[in-house]
């Protein structure tokens, strides 16, 4: 239960930098001041110690970076695909399109499965959110939002609400009701407020907390009921494009990837950036945890997908081919973690063998770039969303 205390937060212009953002009301020498969480951290770092100059700090950071590489290199005794040589190769897969969900009027940008393994929610450039029953192709709910480019959508764990966000810089929660005549858009509640577009959102273990990533370079944890900012995560130096929560058994961490080519792992309680990986050479479009929670994969505009192990603290595999030149927009693992499905801007989905590093097959079908791929909670199907206005269910 909630035994943590959070600082009370309000929204408004920061006393120090003037930007409008969620503020932390803190007291310095009994004087109340309202700084945004970024300025609070900056304030904590001010006050130079004697002998420190910009150059000495730069040198120290270079040395530390080198030391980090050395430490990581010391433990690289073998590569993942070498360890996996003795494993049987994956047999030919018989995955085909089983359903095509038509109904969006424009590019479908995001999709998420419900825990009941049959419903999906999708969001599109035309500002609409549709909840589908993937078995029957029935459209169960449709909500029109006042903004276009709804880049993020997520199903609540209870299945009773969906969250969505995009160019409106907000992430809103819409409760789903069984009454067909009810106007769902009227019950929409704004939870998160960023200073730039919302690129990704996900509920945590309950319907009560929402984690968002934004083009303003931060990620944030919000309380759904009150709209209060519980924690913010600073560290990316450019837009954050994607985030993923660690599978529940392994605790309170999440990974985020962004345009600064870095993937960062964060501790949700302290807001601390625990680990950082920067081997990609272009924007990271998507990050996804391995089912065991000990590793994660990332998809990038540099046409590669990479696999990082958290306990070894390094990249352990790169999934690339000379014939693949288009950026990868999205990745997801199959239930056992053996298969990695990656959607690319060349309209295909490539299926990679995670352990051996080779491509097993290519899924053709979409007529425009694939924006998101998601495996269902029980691993029986894959749902892909595309700029060709449709979603496909593969099984």
């Amino acid at each position: 239960m909630c035994d943590q205390t959070f600082l009370a937060a309000t929204f408004g212009p920061c006393d120090s930098c003037g930007k409008a953002s969620p503020l932390m009301n803190i007291y310095v020498k009994n004087e109340p001041i309202n700084y945004c969480s970024f300025c609070v951290e900056m304030m904590a770092c001010q006050g130079l110690q004697s002998g420190e100059t910009l150059t000495s700090l730069k040198k120290e950071s270079e040395n530390l970076k080198k030391k980090l590489e050395e430490e990581r290199g010391k433990l690289t005794d073998v590569e993942l695909h070498q360890v996996a040589e003795k494993v049987e190769a994956v047999a030919a897969l018989s995955i085909k399109t089983r359903r095509v969900l038509k109904g969006h009027g424009n590019k479908v940008l995001c999709v998420d499965w419900c825990k009941d393994k049959r419903r999906v929610v999708s969001s599109s450039q035309d500002g609409k959110i549709i909840v589908w029953d993937a078995f029957t192709l029935n459209k169960e709910h449709g909500v029109t939002l006042p903004c276009t480019w709804v880049m993020a959508c997520a199903y609540a764990p209870s299945g009773c609400a969906v969250a969505c966000g995009g160019l409106d810089n907000k992430c809103s929660v819409v409760p789903l009701s069984l009454d067909r005549n009810e106007n769902l858009a009227a019950k929409k509640k704004s939870v998160a407020m960023h200073t730039n577009y919302v690129s990704g959102c996900t509920f945590t273990s309950s319907d009560m907390q929402l984690l968002t990533s934004s083009g303003d370079g931060t990620c944030a944890l919000w309380d759904v009921e009150s709209g209060q900012l519980l924690q913010s995560f600073h560290g990316h130096t450019a837009d954050v494009l994607s985030l993923d929560l660690a599978p529940s058994e392994t605790g309170n961490t999440f990974v985020s990837g962004g345009c600064d080519m870095k993937a960062n792992v964060w501790d949700m309680r302290s807001g601390q950036n625990i680990q950082s990986f920067d081997s990609h050479v272009s924007d990271i479009n998507c990050v996804k945890y391995y089912p065991s929670g000990d590793a994660f994969a990332s998809a990038s505009d540099d046409a590669t997908c990479r696999f990082y192990d958290l306990r070894a603290d390094r990249e352990v595999a790169v999934y690339q081919k000379d014939s693949i030149v288009f950026g990868a927009s999205s990745v997801d693992f199959s239930l056992s973690g053996r298969l990695l499905f990656a959607g690319y801007n060349d309209y295909t989905i490539n299926v990679w063998d995670v352990l051996k590093g080779n491509r097993i097959s290519i899924l053709f079908g979409h007529e425009n770039r694939v924006s998101r791929v998601r495996v269902s909670p029980d691993g029986t199907a894959l749902c892909s969303a595309s700029w060709d206005n449709t979603l496909r269910i593969w099984a």
Partner: protein
């Protein structure tokens, strides 16, 4: 103000790097072995990998065509 913030940024970077350098790491061989073990343990439950009998996958229900 800019020089001050550059300094603060550098200090934060140095603190962050110190934190990252002190993370406890394990050998890649052990990490890889654990990943492999997880895959193999769960492979039988993975419908997309091994396929399930046609009846039990709701998306692959056998559809019969009636010739009129």
């Amino acid at each position: 103000m800019t020089s001050n913030s550059n300094l603060s940024n550098m200090r934060r970077l140095v603190e962050q790097l110190k934190l990252e350098a002190s993370v406890e790491r394990i050998k890649v061989s052990q990490a890889a072995a654990d990943l492999q073990q997880y895959c193999l343990q769960n492979a039988s439950k993975d419908a997309l990998l091994v396929g399930v009998p046609t009846g039990s996958n709701p998306f692959r229900e056998p559809r019969s065509c009636a010739v009129v």
